[in-house]
Symmetry: D3
């Protein structure tokens, strides 16, 4: 099994294949061009600078191509950085393809599709069930392809559906422990809560915000989709369940200052807000700790008030499974 | 000309007709019932308590009826209060009707209709023009009937359209002074910005929040209406002007913590936000100052961070026509 | 089965037994004494005033006695209130005892003891396991008797352990879904996180803050207990697991402004913070909704930024189980 | 007509005259000196670095001289930057002078003087009229020369009076739409509100804060000027109109945290605060959008909470006038 | 020695002389008038209600008269309250005068005058010395008569100068411990910092805010006085020491949101801000603790974020002096 | 007497001995190594870059060695920076040792020991006296060696005890001016308040946070020490004086958001909080002003909301002793 970039020790020399995720050409202080690369393999992403880049190198080392890099991983101001000593384009004999290097959700798409489909049977409210199926169907491909965010959490292909499935699992424990929960509303809300990101973001790779993403935002975009689903399915939009479903989506950021136009006024809205936060937090911390040497603190996590997290030594966790 | 309740001096005895706006029966400490009234005439509203209310008095003194009240206006903890000494139901010979006592916008409905219709001709963007006409048409009656808020500002019949027309007038000065402004977007945005209040609120009198008002809110309700207008009018909702129009409506509260799901990213969105605030502030201060003796400070205004406002003496304003 | 106070409709007359939870004698405006009661049965608590109280009534109607009350439940400024028409002390023939009227956790103590004991076997870190057992043992009785708070959430006998068990159930789902979790730390932290409330609060009934509660607070009080446990058990307090355990307890309020002296820097600290919040929120909403007529909004919930929550009509939840 | 720096496309080569606004000599990583220039012409300002600067180049390329530059405009981390390929001092035959390159208010000084003078006739309160004339007279030259700020908005020669005139125009619409307004106070307040900047700032070019600017601030500096005007003009400073005039100046930042020592307690103070904000916001957005390609977002605007603004495509505005 | 109202135990009956500080006549729920009194003697102030007040009682029991009251001190919602059983006007034979009941600063005026005069000799900067003497002289009587605030701290006659002297004492320790301090600036700033309260407030008794107090505020009022002193004394107001003196006064609230128009940019400004806070805090806590039974917590202190303070039992302090 | 680095003028060439405080080797844009030094002597610390560092230079120029540097002090973006022209290791003939270059508290250790010992006699509460002696004894060496912070204030060897002694001096003035103060509690609290920093920080030089420092924090660490002292000294931890002592330590940051788990509820806690702030602020400003040319503003001070402080010209302070 080939070792990946984050499986090497700091300052250990290596000679590995990496995918160029992005390549920006800039002018150095010495008036020569250099390339600011972001590389990736399935262990994560890493930046690296390629100095004194010549015209043909600039042309060849484009985003999307796989390269073989000799170098090592260093720490620069507590952030990982790749120091490149040699680099060439991968060739046919190397037998590598870009797909091998892209991070993906730890669950296969089919598993996620099935888990969500099974949940649909537990949505016993007819209007909620029909609306959720309609929207899922409309954005099916993107929903299972897109990341959950451009950068913050679950920022990998399939991240959106993986985030959704993870919350659904927590939601089921909540529903079974607290009898007052309306499962139709809870599960329907979880499945739809972030699906507007398929409109807010530009795609699974080189993800950017679209104009609608910037000017309307994924929260209201879901509300629009529910409105359109009602028109298409001839569901009266004054049905209480429709209003409730819109509310749990609109309120899922929990506070006005986080971008929800209304604060939670339903038990299920409050629960979705908490579970969304919990799953995103765990994912951000997990990602950071995987790149942190035991016994030290991680880099600062932007989405968690710039806190650092400690990776414990010889934790009991090690013995787990 | 008959004097109105706020035209009498403090502690001056009077004998006038008033409309009962609301009447809550409560239990006093001495175990007898009393009625907590809110009365109104066109000079404003005032609270007053009716002690030791008998069964038949409770039945007769209902909201919506006109009464003749002997009493005086007092200050209780810096708030005006009516001290009732005698009170009876108005009769036919009194020749008074509830309409005479309801506060209304200072402009007649027809004037406001005309002013808004004239503005439509200045909206030269075809999609914006068609959407605005469609929604105005759909909610025409309510738009010219409803207040702009339950309590805070323009809380009187016709207040919603009056607030809109007032902003439009300011908007025209802005458009003529700053050449970079897109008038279609500015005027379209002003007209639609609060029209969701026709769904958020229950009506022109005894106004309450509806379920949709509480759980979705007037800002997103307008966005839904634009979405539905596009479907009805076969306008592609990816047209840039449609996205811009949605944005100026969604962003008009200016900050996330004031309930906008996105902050202004368009010049026109920023302008509408400022003018909306300006007109609402002037209306709240004006209303408070009308009830404040010159040389003293008004009661605290909730919508303006509980500030009090000073009513100057012998102001130059007095000489103004 | 006897109906309880919240099982009667608003304004429906009843004749029921209630426990006097507290009884404050005050002077009315008419210079006579009245008693401000808080009554309770297992459906909840309710306030009521008893006017013109005579000396012997004041002496007899003390906190802790069961009374038979004729009256009805009213709404006063959107808060429930008991209107008393007649009231007498319960007698032997009534065959009622105070215990029958006290709210308790929905789980029996033995069930909770067993659930927590079972969890102890999953704490495989020796120092954490020994410390948790030592402290649990020391405060065993109070831990299963005390409420989780004076007023905010789980404010009933046994509420502290019930809140702990509820979080433990969620914690197990989290541990099974996210492989990076250290279960010893997570479960140990959950069990200890609020146990300082047995020192912070005065007891299971008529709960007040103690001097140590006011001046040190339950968070630091747990830290002190861990320090003392280490001394007693001869565990080196520099052991990493001890430091981690202290941290997850100290950080469980999540933010400095909520009273944690440190913010979470461990994955498990972040998770405990979220689950603690989630369980407390659900309990507060549930309690409020049980007293709210379907189709209306609850009273404001102090612990949730004064939000009101909507109790939906004919919710799908009704059909559940 | 000669094209200006912001009229060229990004990355289009040009050969134009520019004024050196500032020139800082620094040491590069390669131990050679470079010059960090800010250039300007009437289309705006732009930074550019001149590498490997020799002694005589450092001596010749000083702030205030006009140069001919060959190069192109680039984007560096979303900020415009000038890439210099060649550069020489302009000579007599080039027939260019620094004044041609300085940004100025879009109105001529005489127009602004006249507009303000005309307004003085509408200030019918004698004390306000005399005070305003006295102060205007004292700071006349600076008032029509200075910028309105060092960097944030209207940061060009004549910007202070231009900002004042722009607000006056809005103020007149407000006064004509809302009858409760005291025009003497409103117009007097607008004219004086920022005149303390003639003391706070060092001058029209290379503007810095003075010691009084830093330690007293322009708001209190105006209050001092009113105090001194009263002494000079023998106006009793306890005259209500004087107190009101001071208040509208002191309160014009609207909130304590924005540097006003008192919050608005007069209708006119509230209005001036809003109009000041509105005009400054429009100016900042306008300036940013002029440098932004249609269909993209501007750089972040510091004075507007770091928001970016979108420059729409084929906006209807294009067809205007 | 006659015992004062706060020297009696709670609920202990007494028969003492008190000064009526204020007397508001209000209407009770039973439609009879009652008087809401505030009484005071040198141990503090206390409220009390007088029910069923007759016309002649209302006329006789006016603010400023001394009465003999039979009653006791009670706690009402944790606030002290006087329960009146009998009350009559004091007569000549009682040999009491209002002055005996007014709280005053614990130092005699002459002591304070001397202490401040001595300090003037340590102000070696000529302009600061002259300005401080000029202003002190101008407001001499009020400065030694007024309270330091209407309610918050040092709210008694002479409180303003007492607060000033207390800070001066601390300031001298600071100056002797930290050699970098400019004593002229520090002592001059301390003496002037709150002297604007002689204009902001209406007088030593029944203190209210004046119009200038409300619309300009004591901080800027001092700045105006320095400006006028410079004119009168022909001191150039651009002298650095004058600017520094203005700054330490303007900045003494420490933060913009507390009403300073500039934040401290001088060491001495920072020191004055801290000492002002420290002295005010100690005074507020001391006042509250004097009315608090040992072993219990005080009422909430508004000026200290509504915190309560604990009055310890058998504190070592008891043995002091 | 040899001149120190901050005693030379800006841009004046010098040839002086400096201690290397830290030396980080980094890669320059030209692919050569450079060393980022922090140097220090007793006038302060200063950064400087050494370009094109060779292997043997990297090996020789290590932290802890004294070097002779030719160069000058420059300003880079308003921060002082050392421009190195030549540099060599100090040799025996140079007769310099690292100790000569380390900043230390301005008081000798013995003076501080004596001052604190004398204070112990004024702590008349037996439990407080014994606890303070026990903890002081346990951490004696570190307490007089450590800095008070890693960077913010008193960041030099002995800074912790120096900060403590400085506060004690202020505390004695407070105790003598305000009779309500409990001196045992005040002095005991001052001595212990920051002693947890001996556990939180790693040592007197190259100071870093320890794991306990990061995860528990110095405030709670003192509380633990008091708990352990009680166990060791057989003092009942429910003694009121023990609870009070813990409280003044826990509350000394004054607000929850500054890391205190409880806010001050004791007069002495409030006083310690203020004096701690005052002494830290003066130290930070003093340090900054020493490096600031008279007539200019200092660099921004991070610990004081990034404010800059003005160093006045020809201040009266100059004449002081």
């Amino acid at each position: 099994m080939v070792k990946k970039v984050y499986e090497y020790d700091l300052d250990e020399s290596f000679d590995i294949y990496l995918l160029i995720k992005s390549a920006d050409v800039r002018l150095a202080k010495n008036n020569k061009s250099f390339i600011a690369f972001t590389f990736q393999d399935r262990s994560g992403q890493i930046d690296g600078k390629f100095w004194d880049a010549k015209e043909d190198e600039i042309n060849r080392f484009q985003a999307g191509t796989v390269v073989k890099v000799s170098g090592k991983r260093e720490l620069y101001q507590n952030n990982p950085q790749l120091r490149i000593s040699k680099m060439r384009i991968a060739q046919d004999v190397d037998a590598v393809s870009p797909e091998q290097f892209m991070e993906r959700a730890p669950l296969r798409t089919e598993e996620m599709v099935e888990e969500i489909n099974n949940t649909l049977f537990e949505i016993t409210s007819a209007p909620i069930n029909r609306i959720v199926r309609f929207i899922l169907n409309k954005y099916h491909k993107a929903f299972f392809d897109y990341p959950a965010a451009k950068r913050l959490h679950h920022a990998f292909a399939g991240g959106l559906s993986y985030h959704t499935v993870s919350i659904l699992r927590l939601a089921k424990t909540v529903a079974s422990n607290y009898p007052g929960i309306n499962e139709s509303l809870l599960y329907g809300g979880v499945i739809l809560h972030d699906i507007g990101k398929t409109i807010e973001l530009s795609g699974a790779f080189s993800t950017e915000y679209t104009l609608k993403g910037n000017l309307i935002g994924h929260i209201v975009l879901v509300d629009e989709e529910i409105t359109k689903a009602c028109e298409a399915l001839k569901i009266d939009e004054d049905t209480e369940d429709v209003i409730l479903l819109k509310h749990v989506v609109l309120a899922h950021h929990g506070k006005l200052e986080f971008g929800s136009p209304v604060v939670p006024h339903l038990l299920e809205a409050e629960v979705i807000h908490h579970l969304d936060n919990l799953d995103a937090s765990i994912n951000m911390i997990d990602t950071a700790l995987q790149r942190t040497t035991p016994g030290t603190f991680s880099e600062r996590i932007f989405g968690l008030e710039n806190r650092t997290f400690y990776h414990p030594n010889e934790s009991v966790a090690v013995e787990k499974e």
